[in-house]
Amino acid sequence: MFFYTPRIHKYIISGIIAGLFIVILVLQASINYSRVTEDLVESMIIMPGEFVTNFVIGGFRGIAVDLLWLRIDEMWHTGKWFDIIPLLRAITWMQPHFLEAWELGAWHLAYNCYAYAESAGLPNKEKYIDEGVKFMKEGLARNRNVYDLWFNLGWIYYHKLKNYDEGIKYFRAATRVKHPSYIDRLIAHAYRKKGDIESEYKEWQRCLTVFTDDKYHIDIVKTHLEKAKEKLIAAGKLGVNDK
């Protein structure tokens, strides 16, 4: 073609490049959407002015987290209980989906630091339990689609604070996502500890309808259901032939 000059060739190539950039823009929007919906984003929790940290660490924050985790292990064995907390916080900033860090941090505050404060006679020892709960709730805000932190927060309320209503609330939230069978049973146990036999009985009945393939779970539930039934009959709240 006589009119196909090198200049026109250059323009055509430039046009193709511009067109491909438009395709890339559309593709990038789709990739961004997928990264959020598939939970592939592992952004650091940082303040706006702190993006330099991200710049320095770049794609190697996993290594930084591992090194901090190793340092925690070392501190653990040397009894530096309170120095562990800022390191755990740093880990959760860098990898907010690293569940073990949230779990360990909250447990460490609510149990270990509390016990240490109690034995050392420090004032205001309860604040460590509050800190543990706060820490876990912070992690929960970023990991709502897995059962782990719902369960662990429920456990602090159930076991440490004996606040069974709050425990039940978080255990129940844990059962709304994929979870192991013992969480369903813990809800019934929480009602038992609370002294609410009727709710406990209803909960054991509900437990019979979940994890039906799990013989171990069903056997335990049946045993507890019988016990709860006996207690209800003894209290006159249920007839012998009632279901």
Partner: protein, 254 residues
């Protein structure tokens, strides 16, 4: 096509003779294997530590290999004047450029295969598991290096070797921060600034697309659809860079 393949084979052989490439691969192999030794410090997180550290090492060394192999391809040929001999023998500039790119990819993939094999053997030996997600992360990482190689080659058509290497490393770092440009653009109300930031966001490569390392180490799954999208993104971006490189190289006086 035969010319492209011959140039690619020559480039690959030349890259294998490069002492720096061999040193980097040996260093990576030793570093990956050594992750096995310090995991005893954290018994519950052994696999996580091996995966995190090894993937980080592969990404870093892979980036260096890509930049060092690709950055010198054209400037070295021009400096030694061997390019004039090749181009005078019925080899077009386009064939030369694409042949060089293909040869660099051979070398990059070969080193990726070696590093990945050591890593996969290590995690298999540790956990007796074969995690498909790790393979996906390695595939995406390889695609990231293809994009980086195409950018470095594009720049090498107009710049010196040292400049290419520095530019390659910087674009790798900037490419991992591209997402911030979008967030930054959202903060501005002035159309001019917003448009500038969005234009930069589109033009600069987004290497975070290829980074699923942290997510998979923490148990996330990478859907095949996502893999397909990101590979398409990498392919298109590389085509753009090669076309740009072709335009620059066609204009260059040798």
């Amino acid at each position: 096509m035969r010319n492209i393949l011959s140039i690619a084979a020559m480039t690959y052989e030349e890259a294998l003779r490069n002492k720096l490439l061999n040193v980097l691969i040996i260093f990576a192999a030793v570093a990956i294997a050594s992750t096995r030794f310090f995991v005893f410090l954290a018994p519950s997180e052994e696999l996580k530590i091996i995966q995190d550290t090894s993937l980080g090492i592969i990404r870093f060394i892979g980036m260096l290999i890509t930049v060092f192999v690709t950055g010198g391809l054209l400037p070295r040929e021009i400096e030694r004047r061997t390019i004039t001999t090749v181009l005078s023998k019925a080899v077009s500039r386009t064939e030369f450029l694409f042949g060089k790119f293909l040869g660099a990819l051979y070398a990059i993939f070969a080193s990726m295969i070696i590093m990945s094999a050591i890593f996969l053997i290590l995690i298999y030996a540790k956990g007796r598991i074969f995690n498909v997600e790790v393979i996906k992360a390695l595939i995406l990482m390889s695609m990231e290096f293809v994009v980086l190689a195409s950018i470095t080659l594009c720049v090498s058509t107009i710049a010196s070797e040292i400049f290419n290497i520095i530019f390659g490393i910087l674009i790798f770092i900037i490419g991992h921060l591209t997402n911030y440009l979008q967030h930054l653009a959202e903060q501005f109300t002035a159309i001019g600034m917003k448009s500038l930031l969005l234009a930069l966001y589109t033009i600069l490569p987004n290497f975070e697309n290829f980074n699923v390392q942290n997510a998979i180490v923490l148990g996330a799954k990478v859907p095949l659809q996502y893999l397909g999208k990101v590979i398409s993104y990498g392919f298109l971006y590389s085509v753009i860079m090669l076309l740009l490189g072709y335009l620059f190289f066609a204009e260059r006086e040798i």
